[in-house]
Amino acid sequence: MSQNTMNLKVKVWRQKNANAQGAFVTYDVAGISDEMSFLEMMDILNERLITEGGDPVAFDHDCREGICGMCSMYINGKPHGPWQANTTCQLHMRAFKDGETIVIEPWRANSFPIVKDLTVDRSAFDRIIQAGGYISVNTGNAVDGNSLPIEKQNADDAFAAAMCIGCGACVAACKNSSAMLFLSAKVSHLALLPQGAPERKSRVLNMVAQMDKEGFGSCTNTGACEATCPKEISIANIARLNKEYLGASLSAQ
């Protein structure tokens, strides 16, 4: 297979720390293979910056397999770049053309403060999970696998919701910086399963309260989150969350 190489300009948001004033800096990156991943291109840029005695561009990454939810980056006006149902680490350079200028920005939301450059603090998501994203399990002898009957459709929907990797692309894409797609995936995933039943009502109330405390916006159902989600979490989950919230808040004591 023949490889094509390309020369690109990368316009990156540079910001020393949370309190510093940030600005875009444009770098030339030459000899990039179209078979490279996007993060490999960033690695090449960073190696060059280190060699030149500069400060490498900080960005989050971990598994580079599209499953951990660590990579972020808002590339050319879309979270995780131009491909559909894809994470930044799985984006390849063949998505770009020779000579192109790629604009890379961090996730922008007050609830995701910038740590450095393209790295943002997404611990707000952890605190939302802590507020209710768990189930109670009695200790004792291990039960037989699949001993609880679960309707196929519910199992499928719960699995689909559980695909959420908590990357925050939904917040980054939303004009309101709303975390509703993330929250709805977490609530749906547990609300659909019998294991999630004991905390079903308190879960949705506590998680919505925590989400509001973290300063995310309200959902206006524009669908931008669903369109950019690397795991294609359905916006129908948001409607399910609304139903869960309405029922739980009306029946709460």
């Binding site: 939301a109 919505v208 989400m211 369109a227 948001i238 409607a239």
Partner: protein, 227 residues
């Protein structure tokens, strides 16, 4: 959990928008239905009778109070939500993400503002004369005297700029409904895919038919399609 907590959370605020929005959607059906009486081609007799019923019968008068409450709640909550949501991203993007959503879904506040401007003018044209300053009357025989709102419509829609403004408002209403109708049902929790598809279709049809019916009213008077 109190009702205050329920309706002031991020989801609760949207519930207020959805419930008032659905109430206003129902009002549009009644309004369009009654106004359609202008096409009875009887010089406005049917229309004036219908308007008289709405203005004199106790039930519509009570509903009118609910309507004003609903509309102002929808407007105030809408503006508050818009401002609040905008404040959640202090530093914006260099390149905006616009492919994932429809322009009208992102522009509900602007479309709503056009509608608010329209309401002020619309109320000045019809509601204020009918309720406060008075309008010319029409004798339907046997001492049955009604407001001749039909004549007010004829008079108002002689002006091409007024007609144009009404048509622009109807287009804004169409786009506002194209997003709002289906969004309201999602907000109150309709998540079943079958019903989703149904609501999307009904909402799309509603967003075309109702504004079209409204837009045809000033056009009908201006072009003298009705006598």
């Amino acid at each position: 959990m109190t009702f205050k907590q329920m309706f002031t959370s991020s989801v609760g605020k949207k519930l207020v928008m959805a419930f008032t929005g659905i109430f206003l959607v129902l009002f549009l059906v009644v309004h369009a239905g009654l106004n359609a009486c202008i096409w009875a081609m009887d010089g406005g007799v049917t229309f004036n009778k219908a308007a008289h019923f709405m203005g004199s019968f106790i039930v519509p008068r009570i509903l009118e109070i609910g309507l004003f409450l609903g509309i102002f709640l929808h407007i105030i909550q809408g503006y508050m939500l818009t401002l609040e949501n905008r404040s959640k991203r202090k530093i914006g993007y260099e390149v905006n993400y616009s492919k994932g959503s429809k322009w009208y879904s992102r522009s509900m506040a602007i479309l709503g503002t056009i509608l608010l401007m329209f309401f002020v003018i619309h109320w000045k044209h019809f509601w204020v004369p009918s309720r406060i300053t008075g309008v010319e009357e029409m004798d339907l025989g046997n001492g049955f005297i009604v407001h001749n709102l039909y004549a007010v419509m004829q008079d108002t829609f002689e002006n091409v700029w007024v007609v144009l403004f009404y048509v622009i408002a109807c287009i804004s209403l169409g786009y506002h409904l194209a997003h709002g109708f289906q969004s309201a049902f999602k907000t109150i929790g309709v998540h079943n895919k079958r019903y989703h598809a149904m609501i999307n279709t009904i909402g799309f049809g509603f967003a075309i038919i109702i504004p079209l019916a409204f837009a045809l009213m000033p056009i009908s008077f201006y072009l003298h399609w009705v006598n």
